[in-house]
């Protein structure tokens, strides 16, 4: 196969941009979907200089479900074939507001959960029709167990992780691999307000993990790796203990 053709949803996110830079250095052909055309054009120009064979910016607001199919068609029409899809968009809802503002909570759930599922289903189907490809989706360690501090975000990511697990089983026979990416704390604009400690990772480190996971067709990866044992322990804590912990 010649150089990779890659589609990224949410291309202006810090993790997506760092990942795109690694692919650009490999000379990949890139298609970038984002909500903000001006910002995604600046990123596309950067990727071209870094070595991307091509970088096509295009508009998509993931909350506009009706626009998904058309955006996907345009991407395929432009690139001809797509080898890898990375779904990377996301927001970090304010949990406190979610508890009192139902509309806000549902909107945030739609962006982080339903829209991701809709796009994963749609794009996986197109990969399956094409007969090959990898679908990688950024979920989160927050989806492994609901915590008082961000369970709306966590439940949306839990839905995504569970959906991907089923999708992976279904497409296993059809030449499409599905990669669930579960980053822990990442130092990005989305988490600007947090105090950073030992467990925090840079978007560049997460990006290297994403590229590696896709290269190796891994199923579920924790980024960085140490979140796997941490979350294994957290999942094992019995509920009657867990409800007393502040997390």
């Amino acid at each position: 196969m010649s150089e990779q053709h890659i589609l990224v949803v949410g291309a202006t996110s810090a993790i997506a941009e760092a990942t795109l830079r690694l692919w650009a250095m490999r000379g990949c052909t890139l298609y970038l979907l984002a909500r903000d055309m001006v910002r995604v054009e600046a990123i596309a120009a950067d990727l071209r200089v870094r070595g991307a064979a091509a970088a096509h910016p295009a508009l998509l607001d993931v909350a506009d479900f009706a626009a998904h199919a058309r955006a996907a068609e345009l991407a395929w029409a432009t690139l001809g074939r797509i080898d890898t899809v990375l779904i990377a968009h996301g927001t970090l809802p304010e949990q406190a507001r979610c508890e009192t503002d139902e509309n806000y909570a549902l909107r945030e759930f739609a962006v982080n959960g339903t829209a991701t599922i809709a796009l994963a289903g749609l794009l996986a189907q197109k990969l399956a029709e094409q007969g090959h490809g990898t679908l990688a989706v950024i979920s989160s360690v927050a989806g492994d167990r609901g915590r008082a501090s961000n369970y709306l975000y966590g439940s949306a990511k839990a839905a995504v992780s569970t959906y991907l697990s089923g999708l992976r089983q279904r497409l296993h026979e059809r030449g499409v691999s599905v990669v669930t990416l579960k980053p822990g704390f990442v130092d990005t604009p989305m988490t600007m307000a947090f105090r950073k400690g030992l467990l925090w990772a840079t978007p560049e480190r997460i990006a290297r993990g994403i590229v590696r996971a896709i290269d190796k067709h891994r199923a579920v990866v924790y980024l960085p790796w140490f979140w796997r044992p941490i979350m294994a322990v957290i999942r094992c804590v019995p509920e009657f203990v867990f409800q007393r912990i502040k997390l």
Partner: protein, 433 residues
């Protein structure tokens, strides 16, 4: 978010809000008090600090915009690290025209301090190779500056310490190189006069020259050191790029590891290890140009009180006697650093109103912060520098008086008119009193 971002010398301390910038096309964020753009925080004193204000962290402005592989003209955002540019351009046969002693500075920082390197005698300062940049002011105005268009803003911003506005992007002229390697020569010299002779003699055939000087030597050995010179070269047959073994000083020791005993020991050893006759070697650019970049957070070695770097330049007429006096005073104090650097600047004029590089000889070294004693010594050094008609480098400074600054940088009054009304820095408040 409030943060205690520090400068590289970790003195003085400052507390400031930090706002991270990511989008060069967005207006500046709303500011509650004074603010200062900040690159990677590698300047030593307080030119990159704004106590009680807001730092506009520009490191997220790190995108390339355009590169022409035929002409070597590169346009990129202001927060891009020089190291990222080198990673990109060296394999394509191009090199930055001027690099400082670390590759961890941003393009915006290189402009704001009009930095220089070991090739100053042929290339001049960084600003000599800046073709254009855009300045974003707090009132939303964007000013594209070149040597001919908005030339007054261009001159004010080169060496303008970030005070004239945010550099959103810049266009640089890179230079062609045959590869990532250098043909280098090293030899030691026994006294200060020999340094001047070697510099003059080496400047013709060597694009890069610099000397390490033993700042503990006195008497007949005063000003002894090790001279290095080199030229860009292709990769020699059989050579491999160095492995990225990165060491790190893991924590701040409770006291400075640099003291009288370690200093004399290291300096004597370093001098005597160096070859008496010319030693030729092929070196990759990373270890040769940026030796300290391999030790992450080396600034921790000076302990919790941090250190002061001192860099001055003396004009040619007074350089030999002045340097002798400076080195005598430093050696007599028993303080100083492992790495004291001497370099002969060239004649190429700097373009900035407040640019530091000017014809003459420059000396740079660190002093562990031992409080009043250290400050008194630096004041005594200032007396020599001022008397010799020299200057101190703001990027390294944390303590020079306003009076001295005005003497070293007479254009400062003219410069004041270009300062963004919303911008300030610890350095500027100190020297503009």
């Amino acid at each position: 978010m409030s943060d205690t971002l520090q400068s590289w010398g970790r003195y003085p301390r400052a507390t400031q809000q930090v706002i991270r910038l990511r989008d060069r096309l967005a207006p500046l964020p709303a500011l509650e008090s004074h603010a200062l753009p900040r690159g990677n925080g590698r300047s030593y004193g307080d030119v990159c600090l704004d106590d009680g204000g807001t730092l506009l962290d520009a490191r997220g402005l790190d995108r390339f915009i355009a590169f022409d592989p035929a002409t070597g003209v590169l346009r990129c955002e202001g927060g891009m690290l020089l190291g990222t540019i080198l990673d990109f351009c060296v394999s394509r046969g191009w090199f930055l025209p001027v690099v400082p002693g670390t590759r961890f500075v941003t393009v915006g920082g290189a402009i704001a301090n009009d930095i220089h390197g070991k090739n100053h005698h042929v290339a001049g300062s960084f600003g000599c190779h800046v073709r254009a940049f855009e300045l974003l002011r707090s009132d939303g105005r964007r000013i594209v500056c070149t040597n001919t268009e908005n030339a007054d803003w261009f001159a004010a911003t080169l060496g303008g310490l970030g005070l004239t506005g945010l550099v959103t992007w810049a266009e640089l002229q890179l230079r062609r190189v045959p590869g990532a390697w250098f043909d280098t020569e090293t030899l030691r010299f026994d006294r200060l006069a020999d340094f001047f002779e070697l510099s003059t003699h080496s400047a013709r055939d060597h694009e890069y020259t610099v000397a390490w000087v033993d700042c503990t030597a006195r008497g007949a050995a005063l000003g002894r050191g090790v001279f290095s010179r080199g030229n860009h070269a292709a990769q020699p047959a059989g050579a491999h790029a160095p492995h990225h073994v990165r060491l790190r000083i893991p924590f701040t020791p409770p006291f400075s590891l640099v003291n009288g005993a370690s200093l004399r020991g290291f300096n004597a050893l370093y001098f005597h290890r160096a070859p008496k006759a010319v030693l030729r070697a092929s070196r990759h650019y990373l270890p040769w140009l940026f030796p300290l970049d391999h030790i992450q957070e080396w600034n921790r070695m000076y302990g919790p009180r941090g250190f002061l770097q001192y860099q001055c330049v003396l004009p040619p007429a007074t350089a030999l006697d002045g340097m002798r006096e400076l080195l005598e005073r430093i050696a007599a104090s028993g303080t100083g650093s492992f790495l004291a650097v001497l370099k002969q600047f060239g004649e190429m004029p700097s373009r900035g109103l407040l640019s530091f590089p000017r014809p003459g000889t420059t000396l740079a070294l660190d002093f562990a912060n031992r409080g009043r004693r250290t400050f008194a010594l630096l004041d005594r050094l200032d007396d020599v520098v001022a008397g010799a008609g020299g200057a101190i480098y703001p990027a390294k400074d944390a303590r020079m008086s306003g009076e001295r600054f005005h003497q070293y940088f007479p254009a400062w009054r003219q410069f004041e008119a270009f300062i963004d009304p919303a911008f300030s820095s610890g350095f500027w408040r100190r020297v503009s009193q």
